[in-house]
Amino acid sequence: MSVAESESVLLLAEHTGEEGGSRLKLAFRQLRRNPVAVIGAALILLFVAVAILAPLLAPYSPTHGDLSNITVSHVPGPSSKHWLGLDLQGRDELSRIIYGARASLLIGVVSLTLGATLGMLLGALAGGFGGWVDSIIMRLMDIMLAVPGLLFAIAVAALLGPSLRSVMTAIAVVNVPVFARLLRASMLGQRESDYVLAARSLGVKRRKIIIGHVLPNSLAPVIVQGTLALATAIIDAAGLAFLGLGSADPSVPEWGRMLTDTQQYLRTAPQLALFPGAAILLSVLGFNLLGDALREALDPKLRR
């Protein structure tokens, strides 16, 4: 979904400004030839497909298990019937990993959409109006940035109580100042450029210049940040679940939570920590690979 999302941002920019459109088109062409981007996109597609198709892919129920084979010293490992073995409640580990993709994807997309939208709105207001609007918004953002990300997310999640919704809200809130600052800085950079001067000397209205010219041309770093922020969102969500701040219902499969549950069984069933950890790692890696390639494609200075 995130690929579709960033694509729709690309399309949006293409329609609003010709300059931005051609640059983004060029970047997109370059991306298709970059193996890093292709691998990243493939990992993301796999992750999204698994999340959406979970009921079709999962061989067993993710929430119901058979405790008869489970003892403290023995948790059955991978077998032909259960490819990744069983978890501590006798549930099929593979099915839980597959369903776990849903929570990760949902949290990532919702929190990013919320946080980035609000952040960009504030950033655009600050960068567009300047003056006291800018001062007030940016001082507020400074206060939010004075508390480091994860600590901030923990604080918000603790306030709202353990649930998926509060995890999404927490990560969204953490993202707001990041996007606000980024878009504002990018817009300030664009405001000084020649095409703005040209538009202004032609008598184009300020609002039209900002919405029609400055904004679309300022979006490149935001798109890059969006991809990378999705990676961070998945990691932070796993971290919050690991700390017991995820879904209130322990039977809901969440990768971070699955890791916590195995803490005491590291000696007898290390595989139960390995699989959810690998799932988080691969999905995050996908977004980081694509984000990295996007940054290279969209920043002409990095192009060699």
């Binding site: 206060i143 994860l150 990691i235 920590a273 390995l274 950890g277 980081n288």
Partner: protein
């Protein structure tokens, strides 16, 4: 320079005031007050009222805030509701643990990251370069608690090479004048304790240092690539300077400015409490302390601890900005 520092310090005032209001409001908005955590669910209304009165929670909120600010300004952070120990005293014990762990992580990141980044840039677009890039992307993609688990499982559970929890073997008892156990062992002249404290630092240090390592590697690589194309490097090479001299004096020295920036920003992050790493390795630092306090609704600890960390974080970032001028004479000249 001084004017710049003073102006930045003044800018901190509104941030800290805003932050203190935020933390204060947050603590009071948490579901369930300290009395619930302290007295349990079967507390009588009289006991609850008594506890609320004892901690001044029955007064109007604005009055509580004024009292709180008054205390904080005079350096009084109150005492923990759970343990009744002074918050400042706990910070003095927990913060050195956090600094020690952060330093271990930073040393790991720098000692490995700068050479790796340098080599990658030197072998630009070879397998050495590509594997460094892929490695650094893996490094920022792995959840810190998962890496901590892996390290713990391999080196503590399976191989028994290194301890997996705490700062020191529980049987060791030496005085702690500084709170930095490695330093305390040196002061005590106790070789055995010194080695034990270092061994306890290795696994959490690596777990916490992996993200900074990935970032330092990437930044070093990018900076070295950029500097290598500068005219003064070509001049240095053309006038027949030895490779080593060019590398050290012309390339690395100039490439270190962005690295220093990133290291400063990472230091701020590391010092603000590595909650996840501290929990996996039972490291008694600020992160795990504040995390426990959140669940105990320990208002004074949260108010004092988070404000303290935010001040540290903001001050470190200020130091980073100031250090630009020291590291790069060009910026100093522009400032005048």
């Amino acid at each position: 320079m001084l004017k710049f520092v003073v102006r930045r310090l003044l800018l901190l005032v509104p941030i800290l005031v805003g932050l203190s209001i935020l933390v204060f409001a947050w603590v009071r908005a948490l579901p369930g007050g300290p009395e619930a955590a302290l007295l349990g669910e079967r507390a009588t209304p009289e006991r609850i009222a008594a506890v609320r009165h004892e901690y001044g929670l029955d007064k109007p909120v604005y009055q509580q805030y004024v009292t709180y600010v008054g205390h904080v300004v005079t350096g009084d952070f109150g005492q923990s509701i759970k343990t009744t120990r002074p918050v400042l005293g706990d910070i003095k014990v927990k913060f050195p643990a956090t600094i020690e762990l952060a330093l271990a992580a930073l040393i790991f990141a720098l000692v490995l990251g700068i050479p790796l980044g340098f080599i990658a840039a030197r072998r630009y677009q070879t397998w050495a370069d590509s594997s460094t890039i892929v490695g650094s992307l893996l490094g920022i993609s792995i959840p810190v608690f998962f890496l901590a688990y892996l390290l713990k499982y391999v080196f503590a559970v399976k191989l028994h090479w290194l301890p997996s929890t705490g700062r020191l073997d529980p049987t060791i008892d030496i005085p702690h004048p500084t709170g930095f156990y490695v330093l305390d062992a040196i002061i005590a002249g106790d070789w055995h304790t010194f080695v034990d404290a270092l061994r306890h630092l290795i696994l959490p240090g690596i777990a916490l240092g992996t993200i900074p390592l990935a970032i330092v590697t990437r930044i070093t690589r990018a900076a070295v690539l950029e500097v290598s194309n500068e005219d003064y490097v070509r001049t240095a090479e053309a006038k027949g300077l030895r490779r080593r001299t060019v590398d050290e004096r012309h390339i690395l020295r100039n490439a270190m400015l962005p690295v220093a920036t990133v290291v400063g920003l990472q230091t701020g992050l590391l010092l603000s409490g590595a909650v996840l790493t501290e929990i996996v390795f039972a490291w008694p630092g600020m992160g795990s302390w504040l995390y426990d306090a959140t669940f105990n609704r320990d208002f004074p600890v949260l108010e004092g601890g988070i404000l303290f960390l935010a001040v540290v974080f903001v001050m470190v970032n200020l130091l980073v900005d100031v250090s630009y001028g020291v590291l790069d004479p060009r910026i100093r000249l522009q400032g005048k």
